[in-house]
């Protein structure tokens, strides 16, 4: 079971949370925010309140649907059987095993992991498993072995990292489970970990993605998500 905590330090900014609730974020970022919310009591409350507020302000468009069309949609629906199907939520295993350790994931990430993760082992005790969620973001699970260090790098886009297990630190601080760590292109940082760390990372730069593809062709530098 994932522990819901009142003591999470880093949260999505208000504006991002609002877009999440409105359904306006990319799939990759929505997954990241959803995973954070499952851990974070404060953001559960915040998102419930935002949803309440957004739905209360829910107005109709200036251009309405023509009445004839309105009626044909209504007829179509009323002709359908009202299946009293109980909500079937796929039971997915919550735990994945990384470096011989079982880690329990938030529901949405467990669902994604259940489709199968392909780990690539990079230099310096760092592994990554890419997951394709949409065309706008580059999403991956990143695992850093205890005592490992990533090369110093900047990003050409915004990066969000959710700490899933363990902790890591960089020049700006130390990050624990559930933390929603955001880095814009101005940061140059060098993540390192003492106890080991599993993260989910979302990079929202299609530009970098192309560059990443190019880098994939270069066998000497497989750290595609990093700019050295």
């Amino acid at each position: 079971m994932i522990a819901v905590s009142n003591k999470v330090n880093l949260h999505p900014p208000q504006e991002q949370m609002q877009k999440f609730v409105a359904g306006e974020l990319s799939t990759g970022l929505s997954v990241a925010v959803s995973a954070h919310i499952e851990y974070c009591a404060a953001c559960q409350q915040a998102s419930a309140k935002l949803e309440q507020a957004l739905s209360a302000d829910w107005d109709a468009a200036a251009t309405a649907i023509a009445e004839s069309e309105f009626n044909s949609i209504l007829d179509h629906i009323a002709a359908q059987p009202q299946s009293v199907a109980a909500a079937t939520v796929d039971a997915v295993p919550r735990a994945i095993v990384v470096n011989n350790k079982s880690v329990s994931l938030p529901r949405v990430l467990a669902k994604i992991a259940a489709a199968g993760l392909e780990w690539q082992h990079l230099r310096g005790g760092i592994s990554q498993a890419l997951v394709k969620l949409d065309d706008h973001t580059r999403c991956e699970f990143i695992y850093m072995k205890p005592g490992s260090k990533a090369p110093a790098h900047t990003h050409s886009g915004n990066e969000v990292m959710i700490v899933l297990d363990g902790s890591f630190c960089d020049e700006l601080g130390e990050y624990q489970a559930a933390d929603f760590v955001m880095r814009d292109p101005s940061y140059r940082h060098q993540p390192r970990t003492v106890e080991g760390c599993l993260c989910f990372s979302v990079l929202d730069s299609p530009l970098l993605f192309t560059e990443g593809m190019r880098r994939l062709l270069n066998p000497l530098n497989r750290l595609l998500f990093l700019h050295r």
Partner: protein
């Protein structure tokens, strides 16, 4: 346009409520869920189709997709209405979350995004975190697990079983009810009573 009711409603009083334009969204939605009332559904359709269309236009910027969304979301309201109850908050919030989720999946489909994740995974229970929020409001979640464990022994077995299903095994209400082989309503009331009892016990410590 008015569809005749296909069957005499089980509860005539509710059906009459649904007929009235002044009926609340919640009364209408429950009438759709309990009695498949088409009249109640028509009224809901009148109230929500243009709002759904507006959300569709905002998120898809495409008129045809926005119309598809009206059809998909209202069909879902028709089909899922039996799962609605007042515990899920107001009807407008419920329909809002349902519409947002359908729109998200509609766009994912159009963009041919991989099917490994869907809106219902991102917003579980259509975005309903309320059960957890209530617990947090009273400071319950901040209580150490050890303390809570000591109180468990004092709960009636039936309530304890429900709490275990939801908070230990992390099941949804529907899953837990199926697992324990009890009606959903019974599960919810046992959960509520159990959590209240637990809260009282924890506070008394």
């Amino acid at each position: 346009m008015v569809h005749p009711e296909t069957q005499p409603p089980a509860n005539p009083k509710l059906a009459l409520l649904a007929l009235r334009e002044s009926a609340s969204d919640e009364e209408l939605l429950i009438a759709v869920g309990n009695q498949q009332s088409r009249i109640a559904f028509n009224t809901l359709f009148n109230r929500f189709s243009n709002r759904i269309f507006a959300m569709g236009m905002k998120l898809t910027r495409n008129e045809q997709l926005a119309k598809d969304l009206v059809q998909e979301a209202m069909l879902m309201v028709w089909q899922k209405a039996p799962l609605y109850d007042l515990d899920r908050g107001n009807a407008q919030g419920w329909i809002f979350a349902l519409t947002r989720n359908r729109c998200f999946d509609l766009l994912r489909k159009i963009k041919r995004q991989p099917a490994c994740v869907s809106a219902d995974d991102i917003w579980p229970n259509d975005g309903d975190y309320r059960d957890l929020v209530e617990s947090v409001d009273t400071g319950f979640m901040s209580v150490e697990l050890e303390q809570v464990r000591a109180c468990y022994a004092q709960l009636p077995t039936a309530q304890l079983a429900v709490i275990e299903q939801i908070y230990v095994h992390d099941r949804t209400h529907e899953e837990a009810a199926a697992e324990l082989n009890i009606p959903l309503g019974t599960l919810k009331s046992r959960l509520r009573l159990g959590m209240e009892k637990l809260r009282t016990l924890v506070e008394a410590q």
